[in-house]
Subunit: 409 residues, 2 copies
Amino acid sequence: MAQATTSKEIVILEEESVTLPQGFTAGGLHCGLKRKRLDLGYIVSEVPATAAGVYTTNLFQAAPLLVTQESIAKENKIQAVIVNSANANACTGEQGMKDAYEIQHNFAGELGVEDHLVAVTSTGVIGELLPMEKVNNGIKQILNKENEDVNNFLQAILTTDLAVKQIGVQMNIDGKTVSIGGAAKGSGMIHPNMATMLGFVTTDANIAHEDLSAALKEITNETFNMITVDGDTSTNDMVVVMANGLAGNNQLTKDHPDWELFKSGLKIVSEALAKKIARDGEGATKLIEVKVDGAFSKDAARAVGKSIISSNLVKTAIYGTDANWGRIITAIGYSGVPIEPYAIKVSLGSIPVFENGLPTPFNEEEAKQYLEQENVQILVELNQGDDCATAWGCDLTYDYVKINASYRT
Amino acid sequence: MAQATTSKEIVILEEESVTLPQGFTAGGLHCGLKRKRLDLGYIVSEVPATAAGVYTTNLFQAAPLLVTQESIAKENKIQAVIVNSANANACTGEQGMKDAYEIQHNFAGELGVEDHLVAVTSTGVIGELLPMEKVNNGIKQILNKENEDVNNFLQAILTTDLAVKQIGVQMNIDGKTVSIGGAAKGSGMIHPNMATMLGFVTTDANIAHEDLSAALKEITNETFNMITVDGDTSTNDMVVVMANGLAGNNQLTKDHPDWELFKSGLKIVSEALAKKIARDGEGATKLIEVKVDGAFSKDAARAVGKSIISSNLVKTAIYGTDANWGRIITAIGYSGVPIEPYAIKVSLGSIPVFENGLPTPFNEEEAKQYLEQENVQILVELNQGDDCATAWGCDLTYDYVKINASYRT
């Protein structure tokens, strides 16, 4: 499984996931929340792992998020994650909190660990109480050997997703192979600020909690928080990272010579998962990448990128393979960033379409062909400074409407 | 035409428009910007009219907006508006400015008035130069008697609109009948902050410029700026009001006893046009009204209302007649307003669906029937204060995608 890595290189393993790092197992089963598909999953580490999380900014935070934040805060460690799909346990009041604690307690009991070492996450419909009998029955059986398969876990976390989302990387730190694995779900209610998605990252790195936490926040702002599907920020979503130290490297901190290498690995995992979520956006046919360069600040670059990637008009134009740069310019103009209209250059891939406040003549047929690709890039050069950012999203299609006009019922 | 009005009453005339007030004429013709439909229109007042305008907040303001703002600023008066559809004259650089001035100059010449008394407006595709020969030919003929018909004007300003948008009101002030008439266009690229729409309001009231201007700003914030179709704020749009004083009332100012009456009339006109634009949103089948009450400030109420009305997930759920209140709650939660989750009540029409942080049991079939109406109301009670706001929008449908995946080409 583990390819040898040479110093300073990061090996990317597309088919790997949260069980790539040493000491992690994962699995899942069908407990009855969905009609047929798997709906309850877990990740377990052999030993307690240093943990960090980022959580939705929505003021209606769901019960499992509250329980998980409180639990991680106790000693900055968790040993397991239990996740159900199909029901978000959000807007469920006191009973919802009671249910989340019960799930945590029961799974901790199966594992023989303290309750606060279990993180609880949920995703799905808002405002319905969990059918706890089904969930509890599932928890009783989930650690049985036949359910232990990372593919079961990857399936169990999905809702309207069409594809599983996984990635692994390996690097050499202090002569040891350090691995990072990731899995995610999410295809709707996706917008910057920890929107409807769950991200799970595991690593066998030995790493200090506060540095792990800082790296996760920084990288989340550049990856998970830079994707949008529909502009809606959900009540439930979070990214949690577990580092169990089994790789045996010297403890990573900001002062470790390979700190940047580890961060690069974590960023590759986060960015890959974020892009997979954007590409799997409800009804999407394309992944759209918006690169903004020459901004006077990182925040300005991000705001311009998010404004473009969130525009329904840009998203439908790209679905229609229409090089409608006027909609891109419009989205830049209302981003809230004080741009200079006459300094801006916009390109679709390598085709410049707007420069110095004016459209650039371009071959419409060539542009159309470019937009027919599955991966489309919009490049914006603001010419105001040196900061840059990238945002990812997807096109807006008939199927988006179809899926969301009939999701709940 | 003019029904008698009694004191303090406002008579609403659904079939009237910008020529209801005394001394205004309007017309339009086909000059060749569209294939067949009318594309050049005008409003003219017999005498110079006190004028005020509100303009897009998009940083890429189109050439005609710049010319119009500069012209109105000269003496706060205009006597005419010339408008073309199908081409926005936006992102057209120096040539675009030259073209806008040329249109202004040529139409002023036909009228025999000074250039700065003509407002110029455009709507349509961004980034293409106007075919000035066609426009200039149109201007030469547009004042011919056979083109003078307010219905021609109403048609000439449309782009993807399916319906003309007009309204008139009359009231008695100082023993005189004062009329206000309105017309608007807009169905896409519509979002608060003077998004892609043009609004034209005429009145024969005698009114002081600064008070007219203040009233327009205040009322625009409660009407035109509270609608959204797709969240995109365009480069071109504006509302302009012309008051020619021919009603003969004593000059209206804030101190006039009927100031509030006049403002009510102006608000009725603005709100009616705003709602007509929202209802005619690209692909829309329903008008959605979001009423937010009990906010701690007007801004908070507006932010919550706009967050809900802008949510693609709420819009698709209502298209699918799905009482998916979880999406409404989610949109409230990410509005940026520090709401109290456990204080909130949400109703669909008269059907409560969420109260005190929990879903309220309701009859799904009854809710579905309610959502099948053409006019749907979402009521949100924040229970934090006394301020309220209303926002309007439309559902998100297959046809929205269809229209916008192929608009330009």
